[in-house]
């Protein structure tokens, strides 16, 4: 079961006994201990002083370790292929059609495994792909190739969004030399065409003489739209090969950004090849649909692109006077009924026709000659012209009854009115809708009453044209086909003056069905340039390469490298060209006798065991290190090796947690022990003072290393500039700038007066900090008022303090992000453990220290409350104003 790539390395196993002896002889290195009471030990002779041997388990561990290393180096593998066969060429036939995209990963892996296997036996490799290549070249056998080149080709190989061309593959195979025996491995997509070219190809491969192994995975499924270009719901059909088990799948509808709008589960029953699914979704969402696909199946045939014909209808409302009086305007109810479902345009007829509407609605509009001509062409091309009657129409009916050619029926002059004060008749209700019309699925509403209407002139063909009628059989809606379009007349007005039909719930349903009649009237003119095309996985890419434009007539369209599936046509007028509808019914590949068929995954594929062997050896080595370190009394070093990185990350987390869980001051760790100690002690004392004198509770201050630690948690970062500090890195400068931008307060204390040092000594430290122009703190500045009213802001010394001037109108509400001074405040605040001040204050003595503390409290308040206390500056003015 286990074989070795280089068995001769196993000879090294003979060194194991030698190692065993060596380990037995050499005791472990002694632990070194410094011991003051050594004098008491000297001269002692213990009764039993046997040398400590290496423990047996350690010996076993080390021997096992070495054995594993030797075994790993020998390249063990599970289920190795027998090496006996000669170097016969191996032909890999790959179906890289759409149907292979569904499980392309396993297919590719199976191929790579075969190549690796062949490489071990140093066989020449040949490659044949059966779908037409992307660049339009013909199908041909490539090779012989080296295994590395083959691996590269297979890695680069992708499924194509078109079917295989087995006939061409057959030609390529027959052209192959039959002089040498060639073994064939065919990774097939499992489909065949009606001409059974696949079976013929298999036979031809068999004729090569080396045996044929067919590896099959899952064949792809195809998705088709049943109601192309119309309908309320998307009715879909999924085709697949018949399988002995039911297949569960889900179909999704997505919008342009890839968001799933609708999803429907379905099942193809066992042994069936087909199922139909209706994707239900609201009209508003339906218009956003851009793509339908089968969930978890990435292939060109499982993807349907939707074009504009799928989208909402464009409807023109002919409205010449632009009247918008609600409730009375002729088109008010039409507008309300259609607005959710269609894109409505208003205007006169020529303007509307320019926008290529699917339907036009005319309310009591009498056409003149030029309009008639224009509309006739449009209706012939597929437009739906929907007309409402009205007083003007009724008045214009000539004696012959033919108002204009765009009326579905001849009308009788005068019309009739039902009910009313001067009439014996009652208003008429609706009869049931006649069968076999677009409206026949509607239910007649009982509350609809018609008071007036225009009457159709009786004619032999009148009955065929009636889509709706009154209870007494008078036509209410008549329609007539003209070319590819329709003309429809509603015999009442579009507003509520002749009937209450526009007020009923029937009206919107009726109108939507009528509007859906229009097929756009947008004939495809000429070839469509390629916009975006699909790849084999059903992903959209910009068209390129040899992709040509799509012929206008659907009959001339063939899917292939020249015209892959995708979206064609100009922007705004895209036409979807999908693979699914073009495919013939799927047919399974049947193989001639004598050909092995195998699944893609081979259970007993050779598995390289050297990796696990080395991994275990490494673990044992680490264990040995730890043990050895323990024996030498330096366990920590060994463990530190293991803890390494995780410890680092944990330290950072700890810092952040500690800093974030309570409010605390921070100071910059300068590396100068004296300065750092002073800053820590000063801020500790200040935190205590702030807690005593205000409600702010500050936890113990923390030192931050600007290079390493995050500082965004702290309200104040106190930076005692020290000449011993190294210049900051760019990252640390960025961090400080971000901190100041984000509302932090940076206190820079040069403490420079102490040694008369020039503060320019520290310029290199703060270089790169984004500090706006500074001004000295004025008497009105918030810093002097935020808690105590202060005149000076002294520390150990009493000098000027600088803040950012408030003239920028910046985004910080006038709160200075930085306070600069040379007063050594931390020195003034610092106390020892007993609470005694550590440093004298000059020249003011203890009074000055008190002021320094007060300044510290003000500073903390300033950092915590921002410009909140700025109002206090205006208090006198406010009081004065209140008094008036």
């Amino acid at each position: 079961m286990i074989g070795f790539a280089s068995p001769w390395i196993l000879a090294a196993l003979v060194t194991l006994p030698a190692l065993w002896l060596l380990l037995r002889l050499l005791p472990p290195a002694p632990q070194q201990v410094r011991f003051p009471a050594l004098r008491l030990l000297l001269g002692l002779t213990p009764r039993r002083d046997s040398a400590t041997r290496t423990p047996w388990w350690l010996l076993a561990l080390r021997l096992l370790l070495l054995t594993l290393v030797i075994l790993g180096a020998a390249g063990p593998s599970l289920h190795p292929h027998p090496l006996g066969q000669g170097a016969t060429p191996l032909l890999l036939v790959i179906d890289d059609s759409w149907a292979a995209a569904r499980d392309w990963g396993p297919r590719r892996q199976a191929l790579l495994d075969e190549v690796a296997d062949a490489a071990r036996r140093q066989r020449p490799l040949l490659l044949l792909t059966t779908a037409r290549p992307q660049d339009g070249t013909t199908i041909a056998v490539q090779g012989p190739l080296s295994s590395a080149a083959m691996q590269a080709r297979i890695a680069a190989l992708e499924p194509k969004p078109w079917p295989t061309d087995r006939a061409a593959a057959l030609q390529a195979v027959t052209a192959l030399s039959h002089d040498t025996v060639t073994e064939v491995i065919w990774v097939a997509d499992g489909l065949d065409n009606p001409a059974q070219d696949g079976r013929k190809l298999a036979a031809a491969l068999q004729a090569l003489g080396g045996g044929v192994t067919v590896r099959q995975g899952q064949a792809g499924r195809s998705l088709r739209l049943l109601n192309e270009g119309g309908g309320e719901q998307a009715a879909l059909a999924v085709s697949s090969l018949a399988l002995p088990l039911p297949q569960r799948l889900a179909v999704r509808g997505l919008d342009d950004s890839g968001q799933v709008l609708a999803r429907e589960d379905a099942q193809i029953p066992a042994g069936q090849t087909h199922t139909e699914i209706t994707l239900r979704l609201p009209v508003e969402l339906r218009n956003r649909l851009a793509r339908l696909d089968i969930e978890d199946e990435q292939s060109a045939a499982a993807t349907l692109l939707l074009d504009e014909s799928w989208k909402r209808r464009i409807v023109g409302l002919v409205d010449e006077d632009g009247s918008t009086t609600p409730l009375l305007a002729p088109l008010y109810y039409v507008d309300r009924a259609l607005a959710p479902h269609a894109e409505l345009n208003r205007g006169d007829i020529p303007t509307l026709l320019d926008r290529r509407p699917d339907a036009l609605i005319l309310a009591d509009h009498v056409l003149n000659d030029s309009e008639s001509v224009a509309l006739r062409d449009w209706v012939q091309a597929g437009g739906a012209l929907i007309r409402f009657a009205g007083p003007r129409t009724a008045a214009a009916i000539p004696a012959g009854g033919r108002l204009d050619p765009l009326m579905p029926v001849a009308l009788r002059p005068g019309g009739r009115s039902l009910g009313g004060a001067m009439s014996w008749t009652a208003p008429q209700g609706l009869a049931d809708f006649p069968a076999d019309t677009p409206l026949s699925d509607l239910k007649a509403a009982a509350d609809v009453k018609i008071m007036s209407q225009v009457l159709a002139e009786p004619a032999p063909d009148l009955n065929d044209k009636v889509w709706a009628q009154l209870a007494d059989g008078t036509p209410l809606i008549t329609a007539d086909r003209r070319g590819r379009g329709w003309v429809v007349l509603v015999h009442v007005t579009a507003n509520a003056s002749w009937s209450n039909l526009p007020l009923s719930g029937l009206f919107p349903d009726m109108l939507r069905r009528l509007v859906a009649l229009g097929a756009g009237g947008r004939p495809a003119s000429g070839a469509l340039a390629a916009g975006e095309v699909l790849d084999g996985f059903g992903l959209r890419h910009p068209a390129g390469g040899i992709v040509q434009s799509l012929p206008p007539s659907p009959a001339e369209r063939h899917v292939g490298p020249e015209t892959p599936p995708g979206l064609y046509g100009p922007e705004g007028g895209r036409v979807a060209f999908n693979l699914g509808p073009l495919l013939p019914p799927l047919q399974a590949l049947t193989l001639p006798a004598g050909i092995q068929s195998q699944p893609l995954e081979r259970s007993n594929s050779p598995r390289d065991l050297s990796g696990p062997a080395f991994a275990i050896a490494l673990i044992l080595l680490l264990a040995d290190l730890v043990v050895a370190a323990r024996l030498r009394g330096a366990a920590l070093a060994g463990l530190a090796l293991l803890a390494g990185l995780s410890g680092q990350a944990r330290a950072e987390d700890d810092f952040a947690r500690q800093a974030a869980l309570s409010t605390r001051l921070a100071f910059v760790h300068t590396g100068d022990g004296f300065v750092d100690g002073k800053a820590r002690s000063g801020l500790t004392a200040l935190s205590k003072v702030v807690a005593e004198r205000s409600t702010a509770r500050l936890d113990a201050p923390m030192a931050v290393n600007l290079e390493r630690d995050p500082i965004l948690f702290f309200p104040i970062v106190y930076w005692p500039l020290s000449s011993e500090q190294k210049p900051l890195s760019a990252a640390a400068i960025d961090k400080l700038n971000a901190y100041m931008r984000g509302g932090g307060l940076l206190v820079l204390d040069t403490g420079a007066q102490k040694a008369g040092a020039d503060s320019s000594d520290f310029a290199h430290l703060t270089e790169g900090l984004a500090i706006p122009p500074l001004t000295s703190v004025s008497a009105e500045h918030v810093l002097t008022r935020s808690f105590y009213l202060l005149k000076q802001l002294p520390g150990r010394w009493d000098g000027a303090v600088w803040v950012v001037g408030n003239n920028g109108g910046d985004d910080r509400d006038g709160v200075s992000p930085v306070v600069v001074g040379a007063n050594d405040w931390a020195g003034a605040w610092a106390t020892d453990a007993q609470g005694r001040p550590s440093f004298p204050c000059v020249p003011g003595g203890e009074r000055q220290r008190e002021l320094a503390w007060r300044f510290g409290v003000n500073l903390v308040m300033y950092a915590l409350t921002g410009n909140y206390k700025a109002d206090q500056v205006h208090l006198p003015a406010i009081l004065e104003r209140l008094g008036q």
Binding site: P30, R34, A37, L41, D49
Partner: protein, 292 residues
Amino acid sequence: MIPPRVLAQAQDLAARLPPLLVAAERVAASLAGGTHGRRRAGPGETFWQYRRAQPGDSAAAIDWRRSARGNGLYLRETEWSATQGFWLWCDASASMDWRSTPDLPEKRNRALLLNLALAALLLRLGERVAVLGPGDAPSSGPGSLPRLAEQMASPWGDGVPHPLRPPRQGEVVLVSDFLMPPERIAQDVATLAAQGNGGHLIQVLDPAEETLPYSGRVRFVDTEDETELLARRAEDWRADYARRLAEHRDALTAIATAHGWSFATHRTDHPPQLALLALQARLAMPRSRRPT
């Protein structure tokens, strides 16, 4: 340089102990006036007793107010008060700079702490304290503590120093690990005792020095002279070592007892209060009744 932390710790430790009343016996030797009531009449400020005037008493010594209330003449006697001199020493040799695990204090730190706490305690009572070595006369007052700490931390040669002005008639407290040969210790103690000093030896040891907790192959290196000793199985040495240590301690006890001194041990993993309380108890007891 002594760490300021140790000084603060010592003051803290001393503050938590009950006041120490040092028993003093060698009254005649204590020349400087001080604060100790000697339980007998003598120069001092505290009232001691009235006593009938006897022939030979100075007329100026008669307490006329008391005499006016009775028939005889009375003298007012005050209690004789005097101070005691204390000389403290803390071993600063390399062997003291050692601890077996990082959790424990170094022996030297612990010794300093004990000494300083004792000094703080004594100074608070008005006793006069000096560090054995530099030869300064004992001083009193709480202000002396930092100076004592400073002197104590700087090493004065190897072993017990023999200053030019050796202490006389005082109490000597020696804190060390006393791992040097007993003969040397005996010599030092004899020298000091010859001057009439009482004394206390406190041996500060790390727990590892008592138990020898090592096992397996161990190479022991001396902290002072880098002598090496390879133990092939350190656990085999343990019993013998314990015996050796006990012998060494017996020798030290014998030396102390011979001069009327006391000997105590302290382990760094025990709280320093224990040692200090024991020491306080010994100091509060008249020297003649001290157990050893």
